[in-house]
Each structure stands twice: as C-alpha cells, then as structure tokens.
C-alpha cells in the first residue's frame, strides 16, 4: 500500500526535479540494503536487482528469478523480469529502450540516507552502462530520495503520532518509578519492560534506547545506561522512542530529583530548564516551509549562549521517519560533518525533533527533545511539549 503510493510520489518527484530515470540498484539486501527499499519495494531481494522508475510513469523491476513472485505481489511494478545467470543483459535492453537523458543512482556525499548504493554496485552499474555508452548519464538521486522520505504522506505522520503517544505513556509511567537508590540501568529496564508490554520495538539499538543520565558526573550522549545511582540534587534526563508500523518517535525529558530538605527546585536548575524551553519555542516558531535549518539552529544556539551556557555540541534537530535520524535537511550548524544538510530548504510535511541541551554545573544535563511537523503555516508540536521540570 505504502509502496504503491510512494512509487506514484516518486514519479511526481522525477517530474518536479526534471530527472527522467531513477534506478535503485541492490543485491543481497539483507546484507547491504538500500534504506530506500522500504519505500519503493517493501521486501528483501537476493541477487542484483534494479528498480527502474521513469518520469513518464514506467516502472520496471529486473530481479533474480526466485524473487520475481515477491515483487509481482507488491503490485508496484508494471514490468517484472526475472533472470537466472546475470542482470546485465535484461538491464541494458530495458535501458536502451528507455534511452534516458539521466540515470539517477542512490549515492550522496553529504546525506547518508540517500547513500544506499555501495561502491562495488556503483562500479558494476558504471561498467554495464559503459557497454552501451550510457556511463556519463549517471547522476546522484539525492533530491529524489530525500524528498520521498521527507515529504510524508498522512499515514506516515499518523504512525509517528502513535509512536509519540506510546512514548508519552511510558514517560508518565517511569515518572512514578524514578527515586533515589534506583540506577540508570534500573530505569532503562523499567522502560524496556514497557516496550515489551506494548509489543513495540525500540526506535534504535536497545543498548542505548533508552539512554538515561543522572547527575553531574555523566558521560556523553549515545552511551548506555550505567549503574550510577540516582541521588537527591540530580538533574536526570532520558532519551528514547518506539516504532509503530516502522516509524519512530524520539523524545527526551528532564527530571529533577529533590533533596529531602528542598522545597523548591534550585534556581540554577530552573534557569537552565527555562532556557531550553524558550530555545525550543523560539526555534519552533521560526520553522516553516521555505526557511533553511541553519537559521533555525542559530536561533536556539544563540539563545542558549546568551543565557550563559556553552553551545550544544550537536545539531538542534533532525528529521524522523523509518529511522530515528532520517532525511537530509537538518536543523544544524554549518559544520563539516553536516555537509549540505543545514542548507536544505524546509518543506511541508517534514517531521523534526528540536533538542537543545545544556549543562547545569553540579547538577547534570538539561535536555528536552520535542517532535514537530511542518505545516503550510508553520511547525506544530506532535509531542505534548514539556513545560515544567518533572520533580521526583
């Protein structure tokens, strides 16, 4: 169902970008799958396989003989051709007939999500195409792949909404569980127990989903929970998500563990928390179709620095989809590792996280991660934004 709709959307995108032929070229997708396969095929393939979509609306699948029935079953390809010994002959025959001006392939220097073609498969395709003089028609399919993942259809956004609702349920439950003497690992196990109760997979590797950090003496993000013990006076944060129908949520929440003698949250902690809430709100309000992510990142980054904190060592927010880090456009700074991502134009129906971060010395890390969807008039919260510290 999704595959058919996405193949139809791909044909529209080819016309929008004036590219006349796009090929997803894979083999043994269980080993080196192209992340776009879920959108244009929806099943694994074994041997060299070419999924050819043209701007004129033709769809061809050329696959190993034993995979033909699975591909026919998707109903997404008008022409499905099987081979026994090798793909070269049927592939070149098909391309000679189409005779496209360009042949877009899934590679990209700057966007990993558009970089599903391995170098060996690139060389294979280049070698085959050179036999019919087409090797100079190869271009990157980055724009097509990006847009197909990023401009989400209603059922994709709905799945993300459901994943968020489950995540918020779990946050509520774990709020009643956290207390001094529990360890980060205890808290992580509690959350993972909820994943199991709900029958939902974690949004990323279970070793760091959830991530849980308590107190001032913690390590970097992306590190698994430890046996560090929750104590009064700790700022505690967590980062996790689940998958619904293959689509992810990704949220962070910050808690404060009250000391026995305290009747209010320490002023420094409260100030840090309010800084993050305000950074999220300012950047969300500026996020809308046509802007670029660099400018949104700058708004939050400048606010955090203006409030007296070090700038966060990562981008403000990423897109979310079938991967927790999805899409090309990023709300991020102009750093080498982000390549062209912060400069991509924002479109309607993109789903982003917003997740600034700061350290309150002596207490811990304050970090909130909200999720928003970009609509024609601006970004709307998909998550219920955290407005107050959760005090335990």
């Amino acid at each position: 169902m999704l595959v058919k709709a996405k193949v139809a959307q791909a044909i529209e995108l080819l016309n929008e970008f004036d590219v006349d032929c796009w090929i997803t070229f894979v083999r043994e997708s269980d080993i080196n799958g192209d992340p776009i396969l879920d959108y244009v095929v929806g099943t694994d393939v074994t041997w060299h396989s070419a999924f050819i979509i043209t701007a004129s609306g033709e769809t061809h699948a050329i696959v190993g003989q034993f995979d033909t029935q699975s591909i026919l079953d998707t109903g997404a390809y008008q022409h499905v051709q099987g081979f026994v010994q090798g793909i070269k002959e049927p592939l070149l025959e098909c391309l000679q007939r189409i005779n496209p001006r360009q042949i877009a392939l899934n590679y990209s220097i700057g966007s990993e999500i558009c970089d599903g073609l391995t170098h060996g498969m690139f060389l294979t395709m280049q070698g085959h195409l050179s036999e019919i003089g087409f090797q100079d028609r190869i271009i990157s399919a980055e724009h097509i792949v990006s847009a197909l993942r990023e401009r989400k259809a209603a059922p994709e956004i709905q799945a993300i909404r459901e994943a968020i609702a489950h995540t918020e349920d779990i946050i509520k439950a774990v709020s009643g569980y956290i207390q001094p003497s529990k360890t980060e690992i205890d808290i992580a196990r509690f959350i993972q127990g909820k994943f199991e109760e709900k029958g939902l997979p974690p949004a990323w590797d279970i070793h760091t989903c959830p991530a849980v950090y308590t107190g001032p003496d913690i390590t970097d993000p992306h590190y698994p929970p430890t046996d560090r013990v929750v104590e009064g006076g700790h700022v505690l944060s967590m980062d996790f998500g689940v998958r619904v129908d293959g689509y992810c949520s990704d949220m962070q929440r910050t808690f404060y563990v009250r000391r026995e003698e305290e009747d209010a949250v320490p002023a420094q902690v409260q100030h840090g928390f309010e800084t993050i809430v305000e950074a999220i709100d300012r950047s969300r309000q500026a996020l809308k179709p046509g802007v670029i992510g660099l400018d949104i990142d700058t708004i939050a980054r400048d606010h955090v620095v203006a409030c007296g904190y070090e700038e966060f060592a990562h981008g403000l927010g990423h897109q979310v989809g079938r991967f927790v880090h999805d899409g090309t456009a990023l709300l991020g700074p102009a750093w080498e590792k982000y390549a062209q991502k912060p400069f991509q134009k924002i479109y309607e129906n993109m789903v982003f996280t917003i997740e600034p971060r700061l350290t309150v010395p002596g207490y811990g890390v304050v970090t909130i991660e909200e999720m928003v969807v970009v609509k024609a008039t601006g970004a709307e919260f998909l998550s219920t934004p955290q407005q107050e510290l959760i005090v335990v």
Copy 2:
C-alpha cells in the same frame, strides 16, 4: 572478546596479503552499516568513523565525540580520537603519520559481503585523500574482509553448531506435526512457535524463514508459505535456520506425505531423493582446502543431470556466518551473477551449505541442505545428514 580476536586476526591477514593499511569507513551505521563492523567494532556509530588497522599492528579509531566511550570500551583500539565538527583533519593527520603504501577500503564488485562502503563514502574518502596526494593508494579490501569472515575461529564454529542442534530439534518436532489438511502457513507457524519457545531469532527474514513447499504445484524458492494444503502424494520441503550468538544455521529437509493406499514411497520420489543424497555425498568428499568451489558444484550438478533431472538454477552451496549467505567463496557455477566467487580457493575453517535440488514431476521438489565445515583433511558434516525421506 570476538572483536579483539578478529582485530588481531586482521593484522595477521594484512601481513599475509602484504597490505599495510586497512580502513573501515562508515557513518550512521544504523542506516548504512558495513557488515564487517560486527567483527572490527561490535557497536554502532553515528558520525563519520574510521577504523584503521595496519600491518605493523597499529589500531586507530577516529569517531564522533559522543561515540568515543563506546569504542574505548571495546578495548580493541590503541588510539581512540573523537571529533566534533568533522573527521577530515584528524583522519588526514593520522594517515600522513602512517604514510601507508596502500589504503584498503571495503568495496567489491563481485562479493557483496566485502562491499560495505557506500559510493558516497568512497567519494568522501577519495576527496579527503586527494588533499594529501594519497588518492591513488586506494585498493579493495576484498581479500582481507573475505578471509576475516571466512576463516572462522573456534567460538564462531561452536555457535553455528549450536544453531544447527536447535534446527534439528525443530525438524524433529515438526515431523510429528505435518499431516494432510495442514497448510504451508500452519507448518510455518508451528516452526516459528518453536523459535519463540527457544528464544532464538530466525536466521533470515521471518516472512520466508521457514520457507515451506508442499506438492507439485509450488512457486519458486524464496517465496513465503501459502495456504496450499498438504495432501497425500506430496513431496514437502522446508528451509529454515536460527541464530545463536549472531551466527546462523541454514538447513533444508524433504518429507513425503504417504497416500492412504501406499505402503512404499513411489519409485520416482525415492530415485529423486537418492540422487540428492548421492550428489551431496560426492561433492562433500571432494571439498577440502585448496580446491575451488566451481569444481565442487560441477560434481553435484553433473550427477543430478546424469540421473535424468534438470540442473538446479542456483549454486550448490554458500558459506554461512553472521549472515545466512556469508563470505565470498561459493560452491557455484561460473555464472555472471556469481562473479569471481566460484573461483576462490577453499580454506580450512570455512563453513558451507550443500544444497542441490530437483523436481519430481507430479510430486514436488526434493531438496536437502546440509552444513559442513572444511578441515585440513576434508569437509565434515556439521549437520546430521538426512539419509532417508521423512515419511508422514
């Protein structure tokens, strides 16, 4: 543990192949992971990451700052360096100091298991290296990656043995379950129930693990079970495996469903079965270090054809490891899609399937898949070979 042992083995292999520097270069391994990461890193990474191993025994990991602690924890790298903005500067500094004659990268036209580097990442590395004049030192790491996966350590073979033992348990159990009126889907669910009881993941995608085929009117291998009903006079076959500690089993067994009036297996079916058993035995006896897979495939293929059947439309057998189709060397014919695989020399401690196949018209497909390990003196069965049709 395995990672440390495999990194040590990699250093030996670099010396054996006279390559002085090997780099595994990945980013967002959750999206486009290199299948060798499990062997040389054992954890996911987020940003551009370079794992550099030299013939002189140096090991360097250059990774995004937030991933440094996870990499330090593996204990496999002497030098772990984190970066915030981009990998280029620390990478080039490290390589200029090493000044290697060759820089082996994970790409291959003919072997998907050695082709973990995406084309975008190849272009990125090439671009960085060209800034220090090293771009012409790039070579394929195919031999290193192949050997590291293929020449298995004792704990790897032990895990495969355990996966096979579980598979044989399940075959025994399902033999008592199959009877006329059950469907392929019923049988598959029974087997998957056993996976769950044992807490073991299937060796490949659950949609086709197990594959179950009953009777003469079936589709191609790789197709999911259907609601086709088991009847007397059917040859029934199944293909499945499980994973233990990440390592796979992969086995096929053939059953005959007796008609009420029959007191013996029909002669044609028995002849087909014996042909397959004999093909396996002849090819296994020829399989030993130093031979090439093409010659082993030919022995089985010729026997099947000499017994009056069409030749099977696939290779005789593949290696098994962390993937069910693993390694480069293949027991297969010289077909385009198998590239150089049938011509690779066989080494000790490789694990192969042997799985010839034939159709008995009017009855169904006879197919047995055994697993063997190559020892110095020849190939030994890891599975308990099927010597008789399982009659139900």
